[in-house]
Symmetry: C2
Subunit: 296 residues, 2 copies
């Protein structure tokens, strides 16, 4: 018998998604931040994403409902941002033990609503299921949005020689950022329009996990300049690579152009840092990062 | 402190959904089988739905993965059917303890894929999260589909005098039907085109819960002819009203027309039965049916 823990998250997902038949109208199936399917027409296509939060895994018991709700929606918004997409309509599945506080759940919904509205979306429905007492609460958010047919960004279209960049600073998210982060939606859309962007994803499992994923998807190797990695104050480079939950953008840009200067003028409060480049060869791995099933 | 168990499912959902702001392009928000939003144009709008299965609540441990997967998707398909909609693209969120069998999860994905393909849809992505050992596995399925702008059916558009009908037979689903049912998608689309259909929903929590919901949403009372309720062989009328998980259609039709005869020719293996009518007045309640938080 093989278990998810023995297999690890990426290999498990590979084994499961290979069982799925592709249907009509699918432009991007499993494997990227979001799926992309034929949609509204007039030059736009539809973007779909689901994600979930589990009590004790993604937040600690006792965290205010408002913060958990913000995070539940913001994680999905961050994935939309990583495709260069706009947020649309969201659905919420909540599985909750019957003995929880309704007031906490109301806070959760207020937090979800606040984040959805802040980024131009709305929650249009959902489903509530009971769990036995003592079982961790779970919230799943599914969203649809849209992106221009010629404007969406895969994680797998990087080329050797592309510069690798990240927004913001990495590491130490557990101190609070993981509950309060601002998805980089506006910044991502700006990048689509202002630089020769080739690949993009959001950093959720740590640069050490996510950078090799981008390189592998692009069929490239990568060179990481560890000393260039922008670290949160008080955080070392190991933590910056491994902590996860940064919700910053990792992206690959064809070299050249003046976009970094323009960025500094447009987003003076958010640094963007070149941390290396894609190169010929196979994507290696880096130590650290978050695997849901405990493989390092 | 108030808990979901004290409040009951419907009142909980009311308290939470009132916190949600409506956004642009929302034609039908929380409260019906699915949400409906502006979509692809050309006379079509988009239908969105999410649902979930929890081990020990919606299926017993030891149930083959294929059957659980079929059910996970079929429940969503049944909600699409109840709007008169077509199935499109699906996303899967799975939260699973790290010590489960990968082979069982593969069966789950095969079952989900089989049901999606059977009803014209496809699974385009998802998310996998770990749970601690000993916690029940949870699968959430979110779907998008489409329906003609002038062809979708609310649960709340019934009028006094409308005949109330159900497909199939009710009760006793736990003996096996709840894992193997065929969502009534083709039948629902036929009804949209062949009778003066005013309101429709699928029966998931039992006629005793769902019929009062339809009447209340329509601002009507109802008369139920209990002796007319079509019961599964070996099942009494109490169970037929209360067992739940029938996944049959409940619908309200303006009186008149020859559609029942046409139905019998088109669907000779699936009976349709008049069980009462909507009337003036307030919707009362019926004993029985399934409340997720244990209120009868």
């Amino acid at each position: 018998m093989m278990t998810p823990r023995q297999l690890g998250e990426d290999a498990l997902v590979d084994r499961l998604t290979v069982l799925l038949a592709s249907g009509p109208g699918v432009l991007e199936g499993p494997g990227d931040d979001c799926a992309v399917v034929e949609g509204p027409g007039d030059g736009w296509v539809t973007v779909l994403k689901t994600d979930c939060l589990v009590e004790g895994v993604h937040y600690l018991p006792g965290t205010p409902g408002e913060k958990v709700g913000w995070k539940a929606v913001a994680r999905v918004v961050s994935d939309f941002a990583a495709m260069g997409a706009e947020l649309g309509h969201l659905l919420v599945t909540m599985a909750v033990p019957g003995d929880r506080e309704v007031e906490w759940l109301e806070g959760l919904y207020r937090g979800m609503n606040e984040c959805a509205v802040r980024f131009g979306g709305s929650i249009v429905g959902g489903e509530t299921s009971s769990l036995p007492e003592g079982v961790p609460l779970l919230i799943s958010v599914a969203g649809s949005g849209r992106v221009k047919r010629d404007g969406w960004v895969r994680r797998g279209d990087g080329k050797p020689g592309d510069g690798l960049y990240v927004t913001g600073r990495l590491g130490g998210s557990i101190r609070g950022k993981h509950l309060e982060f601002l998805p980089r939606m506006e910044e991502a859309q700006w990048l689509v329009e202002h630089c020769a962007l080739r690949a993009m994803m959001d950093l959720s499992d740590g640069l050490a996990k996510d950078l090799p994923r981008m390189a592998k998807a692009s069929g490239c190797g990568f060179r990481l300049e560890r000393e260039a990695v922008p670290c949160t104050d008080g955080v070392g480079v190991e933590e910056a690579l491994g902590d996860g939950e940064d919700y910053e953008l990792l992206f690959a840009v064809e070299d050249g152009g003046d976009w970094e200067k323009e960025w500094a003028e447009r987003f003076p409060d958010l640094e963007v840092t070149r941390i290396g480049e894609l190169c010929e060869g196979e994507a290696g791995s880096l130590d650290g990062g978050w695997d849901h099933f405990g493989r390092g």
